[in-house]
Symmetry: D3
């Protein structure tokens, strides 16, 4: 298991606890209660689509929380490419509690693998020309899990939250110039990344001159971005200055990514990586032991 | 506000608390800390797409949790149809904390409105011929919020959780016939809905004869369903018996819904209502007071 | 262990955590702190009254939460009949922490076994003529544990909570007839049990004609119930309709149960099953190892 | 409101939150959802039995948590004697949410008032001759609420928990004499009450000589207690020593209390005060506003 | 491990969970994510100052919560004297997660050992002449851990919280004499320690005559205390009464402790034991396995 | 109130809830229960030492949580310099609950103001020559409150937690050169601050050449730092490169700060800002209304 692809385990535990409470309150699994509690079973997690796996820790935790007697042996792990028909892991234990845990486990696994798979499509298409970056457009409460799934798909994480670094948008520049705002940011929060969002060329130059670490070029077309990127490079040479990282954002999709990847920006970001990823179809085939 | 479209408020509060913790830990909103704390602002929630609104209570709670001084006046409520460009509500209060709350509020609102909008598309297309039903394929921890959003979109809620009613699938019928399982369900859990999933006609008859309240016809084509529905009606007449509700499920999508709606089944269900709904594009336009 | 007699383990854990916090805050068990931490002990759970056991999982969890070194071997389990003097289980581990856990463990075990024992008395007296049903009159926060104890005693669980099914009482019928209310319930919440409470014969017929699944006959005497039951049977024959389940409720006690069991109703329910059950006297006899 | 009869408000909030979660998960109150959300109502809490009121704060909190629009005006408060037929308080607000809150509110109020009423019966019968004391035999998680209800009934609280003071039972005296144990308790936990349980006269003298603050005389008959009490008084005179408080305990009930109250002991304690109190019958009569 | 020096484990777990959440939200340990997850390491807890150890359970729990694969072998335990350079314990496990846990573990260990060490300095200086007592001046939320650390240092715990016993200060004596207040305390809360704070000799006599268990002599100099102590002893002889415990408090520090210890009071207390203790310098020397 | 000096309100609420639970479980404030609940009082927060105020939100929340009837009017706020004898704020409300809240409120206020005051002493002494930076050596669970108090004292916050930015220490450089590690950090976590700790001049050059944003010069004397700073400046000129920020750390105290402030480094950091700050003496003078 690659720890760099995992969310903090406490977040996994909190969400699994909520999930089981909502699925079992107040009387537990009525249907499974009809089954013989001694009956054992084996169950295979089966990929019904190709993709990238993410969320194994959630499955593990779900099974453990429903019944400590349940065990899983994984053939694949977070970050692995999987093909349709592949057996991702094999669970064993009491038949009744295996069925109780099934839907919650699959809900986690298919949603997080959906994000990893979607991210991987972006990364594949970017083909190393540009880094694919997520956003803060995540399901509330799932920030760490969804950002870990983005990493499992090979993309990178943008700012984790509002406490990570400073990101100056138009809104923040009330009664302050970009230059003043960046200066204030450096003084109040020394050492932190200062990121500036711009939607006009002149703002880009102001941000660059103010020493921004990253400049988000918002809603520019690929055609407009190319010359801007060139100007930034030239400015850095002319001023013997460290060039800021350049991020393109605003309505970029899988169908326009290719053009953006050729503009020379360092990063493209899209909320759709996390908020419109869809699910990866994964099933659990359960067979009671004879 | 229609209380029947709301999730229990405690669930809203718990998720908002998690959302703010993940977005503000440990130092709060660094960027907003640069702003004048006395500056007030007005902000409009703007629909950028037509759809159905859901999640207003989450926005309300997010604003209250970030800063009790924030106020919202809603023009639209959960369950309302909205058009692109419409101002859904107007928030006022301190500029700095309004910006802090923005992303979390929008993440809730756009995701839940996305589900309501998607559900409404199904309901519109069904045009009263069939009830559109959700499933338990929800984001873990969001069951009550997502099911409320489904209701806001005009669709109905299937079983809320494993404790609601009994649903006998192939898996549960180990060493028990359908008839025996239904009988046991009636004895152990008197008064509860007993739901049986079948994938062959003979099983359908067994479930009907056993007195199932609902029969899920799994993975049948519309063409195959029509004669089955007729047989059920005939059976009820022949036996002077109450006809079970008939649910079609298994890979039904917006593009095949029309055909299923003509089969005569009572209900169609699809996990995609909740797990593949996408987001509704809603923005917050913030203007500091001059 | 019969899983069908267990409450969701998360509820057990939450209550045990609360129980230990209230008993140990802030300084822990002062008296046990005087003891030699190396001293081991053996302790027997002894039934001092005959009855039915329930709550073993709470004891298990209490011991584990106080000290992972404590172990229990059960001779009896939830749902088992026990006789006075019987050794229900044997705990071993550090003497000091065994004493710390004692009272909390016994508080759970005696209260839940009290409910199971009380339920079993009802079930024994009913002697198969009628199903004994609990209510929502449970200790707040203990719904799932007390309803599991009711099952351990052989009785059945009524509606688990307000989200399970619909129960139309007089109060709900403001500006709606019974017929309209049942129709609305079927439309808004398809597939769910619809339960109607009536206190007059005409209402019973309205509910039956509206297609209610269960009719609660509230506060009728056994003498009044018998002819009503006959009328329901006749109505079902006359109309070739499925007969609703009939529940008698309202002030029924162990002393009147026999008469009600002879009326032909399907179910009798009483809040006293859970809110007036008393405790079963169970002790823990602790002996330090010499 | 007498603050000395209240449990810490945080405990009330935690239990109310659990209660509502268990009653409303996952879909809320299905039946109330059929009602017009605009309809307002008035509801009276009516005593159907005479007794002593306790638990008003739980009702208040339940209503507030279900719907902040609900209001209650109390005519009576915790600790007040109430008669059958008396209107204890009047609630107003939305009809639908009033019905949602009803059962949870009544479950708290009737159980806690049951304890207060039971305690008051003991206190009345004791008629000032002896202090009535509760025990740690409380519903796990309800310690502070049930002990507050005991105070509302006019009885007194024994040790609140294991961290309050030291109570040496036979079990604790392994390899230590009573004298050594009391000495150790004084040294390790200076300033705290040291309480010793004895079941033989010689132990009583050892505890007294060791300087115990309270001596629990376990399982003595009233006839046996009287001479022991006299001996304690004489010992105190002979030794110019402060007499320990004397507590009688072990199987004392309402029917034997009178005899124990005449023995001269200072305190009688019984687990039945909290674990076998029964409920006080209180109803909520709801009337929608016309 | 001496259980009498431990805080309730639930408190340890709650604080560790908060600590890891604040240190890892939302993306986990970025720096450790660069390391090879297979690489194992060994780490030694090294004392860099002499002192007394406390907080081992927090370290244990921190490591377990970060990664169950981490193990610690302790050479020393809570309450042990340690010398500079001593290896207190050796941790082994994955290098990456060991580094993740390091700072949180050390923050607990160095703060709690700082309190134990400070307490031990007071105890050493008191040299058995007087008991050193802590106060309620603890870090909110850390009461049980800091009081356990005080015990690890050999000092004793004063009142644990407001629910332990009664402590009548000037403030409480509004419209009541000391005598009336003590009497009321005995009646309402029988069996509990009654503690009275006085700042004048006449009050001391009033408290003594009222039968207070402990008298806090507030802000008296050592010179003033000596004759007061003598008067108390004489009073007890004259009245054949049990002498109350005498506590000196108010601005006592390590530099004045010696004089107070010679006054004959039973106890000296100081908030500085817990709120000004400083940290004990302990490091973790981590070496990846080659 | 300056929002930039506040910790996230959710953290304040969580700690206040823990604090009150530990101080009031299970029976509440016994002593205050003796007082007349109708009696009102006024209480002044008085500074007994000069310093800088921090923690007002904790006091506010504590009072609100104990009793919503308590009110505070602040004369001073977080970040304000205060003098001995100054009245910081005035609280009013029921006498009994004011006393219940007193100690918890003061424990927060004196500890956080102690940190702000200590930080201000560092900042005053630095006199603008160097930025004073805190560390992650905070009380576990108090990170956000203590870092806000550091800001209230005018100093700046270092990395908030392990998820903020990357900090490469010796330990992390196993099998990777500084250059490789920085490169990997840039690739995996684009946009984030990369911070390198060095203890030899050659490492400093490696870090600089690798493009580190901040270099921590660990355990260098002021005399050794001066020439290193000069070399860094020269290197930046020679290479037309952005100079990294330079941080001095390792055993710096108030007594050595002056020398370090003259070395030309940008930042000095010390764990003692948060873990050895001591408390600021603040009292609450309560007067019941006559």
């Amino acid at each position: 298991m690659r720890t760099d692809l995992q969310a903090p385990i406490a977040d996994v535990r909190a969400l699994v606890a909520m999930a089981l409470a909502e699925d079992l309150t107040p009387l537990g699994d009525l249907t499974s209660s009809l089954l013989d509690p001694q009956l054992m079973a084996t169950a295979e997690f089966n990929a019904r689509q190709p993709g990238v796996l993410a969320g194994c820790a959630c499955v593990q935790e779900t099974f453990a929380a429903v019944d400590p007697a349940l065990r899983i042996q994984w053939n694949k792990n977070d970050g692995d490419r999987i093909v349709a028909g592949e057996v991702l892991g094999v669970a064993t234990g009491p038949f009744a509690t295996l069925l109780t845990a099934e839907r919650t486990a699959l809900n986690f696994l298919s949603a997080l693998s959906g994000i990893a798979t979607n991210a991987a499509q972006w990364v594949d298409l970017a083909a190393g020309r540009v880094i694919v970056w997520d956003t803060r457009k995540t399901t509330p409460g799932y920030r760490s899990l969804q950002k870990a799934a983005v990493r499992a798909g090979g993309a990178a994480n943008h700012r984790g939250n509002l406490s990570d670094w400073l990101m100056l948008k138009d809104n923040h520049l009330v009664g302050m110039s970009i230059s003043e705002a960046v200066k204030k940011a450096r003084r109040v929060w020394p050492g932190r990344t200062v990121h500036v969002e711009v939607d006009r060329e002149e703002q880009m130059f102001q941000a660059m001159e103010a020493g921004a670490d990253i400049i988000l070029l918002d809603n520019f077309s690929p055609a407009d971005l190319k010359p801007l990127v060139a100007k930034v490079h030239q400015w850095a040479i002319d001023n013997s200055a460290r060039r800021p990282l350049l991020e393109a954002s605003g309505g970029i999709s899988l169908s326009t990514l290719d053009a953006y990847a050729d503009t020379g920006v360092d990063l493209v970001s899209s909320g759709s990586l996390t908020n419109s990823a869809g699910v990866l179809d994964i099933g659990l085939d359960v067979r009671p032991n004879s």
